[in-house]
Each structure stands twice: as C-alpha cells, then as structure tokens.
C-alpha cells in the first residue's frame, strides 16, 4: 500500500483557506479516501445519523505527481482528524512562505502515507506525513490516521458513497447563503425541528412549528434545476403555509422535517466559498440534499473537478 503526491499551490489554497475550515465544522473526524483519480473527504457515511457529507476532488485539482497503489484496485481510505490535517497544511504553508523566498527552486509540499514507530511505543502506527523541503532544510509533520480500511470496510464505504449520489428531482437555488445562515442561526432559538418544503415552482419554505410558535420563511421564484412547473396564478395571494400545503397536495412539492442544527451546519459550507448552492429533497423524502457548485475562476462555468454535497437525515418521512 503506497500513496505519495505533491500538493499543488492551488490545491493547498483550496484545502487550507476553504475546504478544511468548512469540513472541520461538519465533524472532527472524516474518512479520507484516495482512488486512482480522486481524493474524497467523507463524513458520516459509514456510521451515525449525522449529516453525510461528500467533498470530492479530481486528483489534478489538488495534486501533481500523484502515485497510489494498493492491492484493492489502488484504493486507500482511512479516518483522519480534520483539524489536525488543517493545522499541518497551514503550518506547511507558513514554512513554505517563510523559507521559500530566495530559493530558486519552488518549495514543494509532499504528502505520503507512512508507518512509523511513535515515541514510547513498540508498535508502528500509520501517519499521513507532510514534508516541506526548503533550500537547506526540510520540515516533516506527521498527522496520525486510523489503520487503513480493510477490503470489506472499503467496499462498504464505496457502496455508501454510490448510494449517496442519487439526485433529487427538483433542486432550487438558494440566492444568498450568508443571509439564509444568519436567518437560521436566529431561528434555531425558537425550536429544534425544521420543516423544509421545496416545490417545482421554485419555492423554498422553511418552518419551525411548536405548540407555542410557528416561525417560517419563504423564498420564492428561485432558479429550478430538474422538474419544474409554473406556479398556479391563484396561489399568489395565499399565505406561505397554504401555498405549501396546496403544492404538496397537488404533488408539486415535497416536504421533510430535519434538525435545525443540521440545517445550520449545512450552511457552514459557505466557508468553502461555493459559487452557488441548491437544495432538494431526495426521492421518497429520503433526505434533504444540498449541492454546492464551484465555478472555474473568472467564469460562470462549472468546475467539474470539485464536487461537494451533503445529505441531511430526515427525522420524519413528512407528507409526500
């Protein structure tokens, strides 16, 4: 089992400034999964009832000189502490910039999988090692990782990953992630359960309802991807709640209930600076899916080398 690659400058920027801070909010521990072509950060895919999150990078987006080999179709996965990984990348960057000026050859940041004997231990442990070679010195940082997943565990992870790829039939684009976040942050003082209704008309309706209070927000005329229908003219003067109920009854909308905390967490992905975000409900109301898109810098074209999405567990099948 071997893995060795050089992080590109762009890759370091993506991870250090954008993705690792966002992934860290999603959960302390994630699986890092390398294949021949991709590096994938996975949260909660094998275990747990939390938000499932998948951040996938084509190898060229992060690395050059990427070498991987294993007896399991060149696939390697292990669990890693995101905040430690972030710290290692961050300090490698500061070493590069500190010692890098002046040297003719560009500093390169190499990461590789190693097995080492840690101090005060008799058993070798696996690490993801960051090696920064300066002009005259080298700095090595070892980030502890779990034992690489066994063939069976890896198969399980791959299956879970394949299952997490199904797209909702209707996706609506959220106009302003920051605004939605500050709204949800305030809303979560009022209750724990959030009803989310998404219609083919392009309406996103969020509502917390307890015995004491009903608090909701409706965003209308959003951009729709997938199944869409023109909104009925007679619905225009109704309240948000009746509009949603009617749309669900007509089969033009789906509604699910999720944890407000999960919803607020999904909005933390604004730290990864996505260019747009879409919400949709998976078939049969299986989960609430959030898909983030990234554009190729300076264009409105989707950057297909990066993909990020998460799935919020549904607490109640809701009304379909």
């Amino acid at each position: 089992m071997k893995f060795k690659a050089f992080l590109t400058e762009n890759g370091v920027n993506l991870l250090e400034k954008r993705f690792l801070p966002a992934l860290d909010k999603m959960g302390k521990i994630c699986h890092l999964y390398f294949t021949r072509d991709h590096a994938i950060f996975l949260h909660n895919l094998l275990n747990g009832d939390g938000i499932q999150s998948v951040a996938q990078f084509r190898k060229e987006a992060l690395f050059d000189d990427y070498r991987i080999s294993s007896q399991n179709e060149d696939r390697i996965a292990f669990a890693i502490d995101v905040s430690l990984l972030h710290r290692a990348v961050r300090s490698s960057v500061s070493i590069c910039t500190e010692f890098g000026s002046g040297s003719t050859e560009k500093n390169r940041l190499q990461i590789k999988l190693v097995k080492k004997l840690p101090p005060n231990s008799t058993q070798p442990m696996p690490f993801l090692t960051f090696e920064t070679k300066g002009y005259k010195s080298a700095v090595i940082q070892d980030v502890p990782i779990s034992k690489p997943l066994s063939r069976a565990q890896l198969l399980e992870l791959q299956t879970a990953l394949d299952m997490a790829q199904d797209l909702p039939q209707t996706l609506v684009q959220v106009p302003d992630l920051n605004q939605l976040q500050s709204f949800v942050d305030r809303m979560k003082h009022v209750g724990d359960l959030l009803n989310v209704t998404i219609s083919k008309y392009g309406d996103l309706h969020l509502q917390i309802s307890t015995t004491m209070i009903t608090l909701g927000a409706e965003f209308r005329k959003l951009l729709v991807i997938g199944d869409k229908v023109d909104s009925p003219a007679e619905d225009r003067n109704l309240s948000a709640q009746s509009r949603s109920t009617r749309a669900v009854l007509k089969g033009d909308a789906q509604s699910v209930q999720v944890s407000v905390r999960h919803f607020a967490k999904s909005l933390q992905y604004h730290l990864a600076k996505p260019d747009c975000a879409f919400y949709g409900i998976a078939p049969q109301g299986a989960c609430l899916t959030v898909i983030f898109q990234f554009f190729i810098p300076g264009s409105r074209q989707m950057d297909k080398s990066i993909s990020l999405h998460c799935r919020l567990p549904v607490l109640d099948p809701g009304s379909n």
Partner: protein
C-alpha cells in the same frame, strides 16, 4: 392549514384589534431585551390607541414595563374597544422578533393581533419573493398580583438621573457583597450612596458636585434610605441594550411612597441606529422614536425606617 385559511377568510369581515408596522425591529428587540432578566418569563401585552405596553414581573417584588408608543410605528391601526390584554412568553417573542432583523436586509415588519386563533401574527413586508412570518400563541393573562401604583414619597420628588453606563457599572460592582443593597439619598452634600453588606461591604457614592458628568440631576430635600434585594436591582440593568450605553443616555431613579424604587431607561427605536442605504440625513433622530422602559422595585420589608 385549511383551518387557518378558512378562519382568515372569516376574519376578513372584522378588523383585528391592532395592525401596526415597524421599520426598526432591532430597536424593539433592544427594548424588550432590557426587561429580560431570566430565560423563561411570562409577559403581558396591553394594547391601546396610544401604543403597546409590555409588562413582566417577578414574585410580587419587581415589575418592568416597556412602552412602545404609537409614534414608533410607521403605521398603527387600532380598532379595539377597551384595552385588549394577552400573555406571551417574553423569550419566545424576543427570539422570534430577532429572526426578522437579519443584518443587511431592511426589516419592516407588520404585527397583528389577534389572529384566527388569538395568536400574535408577525410578518415581514418589504420583499415579495422572500418573506418571514410568525404566529405566537397567546395566553389569557394572569392578573397582576400587586398594584404598582407609584406615588411620590412627599411633596418634593426624591429623584436623580445617572449615566446608564455608570449605573450599570455600579450595580455590577455590588455583586460582590451581594444580598441586599442600601440606597441612600442625602441633600447635604447632595449624594447618592449604594451600599452592600454581605461578603464584606462595598459602598459606592455618587456626589452631585464631584461627579456632575455622571450624576446629571439630583432632587432630594430630606435624607431617605431603603434596602433592595441585589438580584432585583441587578435585573434593572443586566440587559440594558448596547445602544443606550453608546448613545450615552442617562437613567432616572425615583424613590416613591413606601420606598418603592422606579428606574427609567430610554431606548432608541430610531431607524438610523441601523445603517441603511436609503437614509440620506444620517444621524437625525426623531425625538419621539424612543421606547420608555420602567422598572419598579419594592424595598425589603424588614426595613421600616420610613413610614409615610
């Protein structure tokens, strides 16, 4: 949901008691937060043609009122007979209002009472394609357990006005001795004294001539002294809004008959407190756009020095 729609239609024939609009939600949040001294508090709201009054009280020893006069509202349509009163959870009401005041988003809200199920209804009114709404369940209010009729102690008022920030600081400092705090006003030399005896003792004096910038006004013709429970005094300043300190406002304290202490704060509900792109004459504050907050604190009963 259908029930709501049907009831809404039924209600159209009859105007609600109150429909009003406010363009500065944050100001209202600030004012109501000032009387939120613990997590779960029941409040009574009273509506009238003059505005909205919110009342909270605790164990018949402390009462607070927030006066939101009709001048604070951009629209105020009152059509009730008498003065409707209802109970709400203060915490829920404030948290809910706070949701409407998202930064970077102008926040005009409409408040209506009652809804089809006697709820308090709130909704944002400034955007067609993004709207926030809320329905808060109301209760039949408890009767106010004791009468806070505040009467002057004598012919001349016993009162002083102190910078709100200094008052808060003094009361915060008195936390250390804790328990009960003696408040003394004496005419010569004109002085206000806060004294705490508990774990050690601490005395804070505001001298009218020495601290004219802190003690802005002082009226007292005879020495008067009463003790108040620290936790009630603390409640009067614990959540004083940042805008009050920033605007460098004063708080007025008056001792009334039987030693009842009245503490008054002024909270700005002017729109200019939130930077807003449509305001060209920045800084201008309409004098009427102030919410008045009053606390009434009963003295400790074992203190029978004054019997007027």
């Amino acid at each position: 949901m259908n029930r709501t729609a049907a009831a809404a239609a039924a209600l159209e024939s009859e105007a609600p008691d109150l429909v009003c609009q406010l363009d500065n939600v944050q100001g209202m949040v600030d004012a109501l937060t000032a009387v939120r001294w613990k997590r779960h508090q029941d409040a009574v709201i009273e509506l009238s043609e003059h505005g909205i009054v919110l009342i909270v009280e605790e164990t018949a020893c402390l009462q607070a009122k927030v006066y939101l006069q009709r001048e604070l509202f951009v629209r105020y349509e009152y059509s009730a007979q008498g003065r409707p009163r209802f109970g709400v959870s203060l915490g829920l009401f404030v948290d809910c209002l706070n949701t409407f005041s998202v930064p970077g988003h102008s926040s005009t809200i409409e408040i209506q009472y009652p809804g089809p199920d006697m709820q308090l209804l709130l909704k944002s009114v400034d955007s067609l394609d993004a709207g926030i709404y809320a329905e808060i369940r109301t209760r039949i209010p408890d009767t106010i357990s004791w009468d806070y009729n505040f009467e002057p102690a004598g012919s001349a008022p016993l009162t002083f006005t102190v910078k709100s920030a200094a008052l808060k600081e003094a009361i915060d400092d008195l936390e250390w001795p804790g328990s009960s705090i003696q408040v003394t006003l004496q005419p010569v030399p004109p002085t206000v004294t806060f004294r705490g005896d508990g774990h050690g003792d601490l005395q804070i004096d505001f001298m009218y001539y020495a601290n004219a910038d802190l003690l802005m006004a002082f009226h007292c013709d005879h020495q008067v002294s009463h003790r108040y429970k620290y936790k009630f005094l603390k409640a009067t300043t614990s959540n004083i809004p940042g805008s009050v300190i920033k605007d460098n406002r004063g708080s007025k304290l008056t001792i009334g008959r039987g030693g009842m202490l009245k503490v008054q704060h002024l909270v700005s509900v002017a729109r200019s407190s939130i930077p807003h792109p449509h305001i060209d004459s920045a800084g201008y504050q309409h004098p009427s756009r102030i919410a008045y907050i009053e606390f009434f604190v009963k003295p400790e009963e074992d203190e029978d020095t004054e019997n007027d």
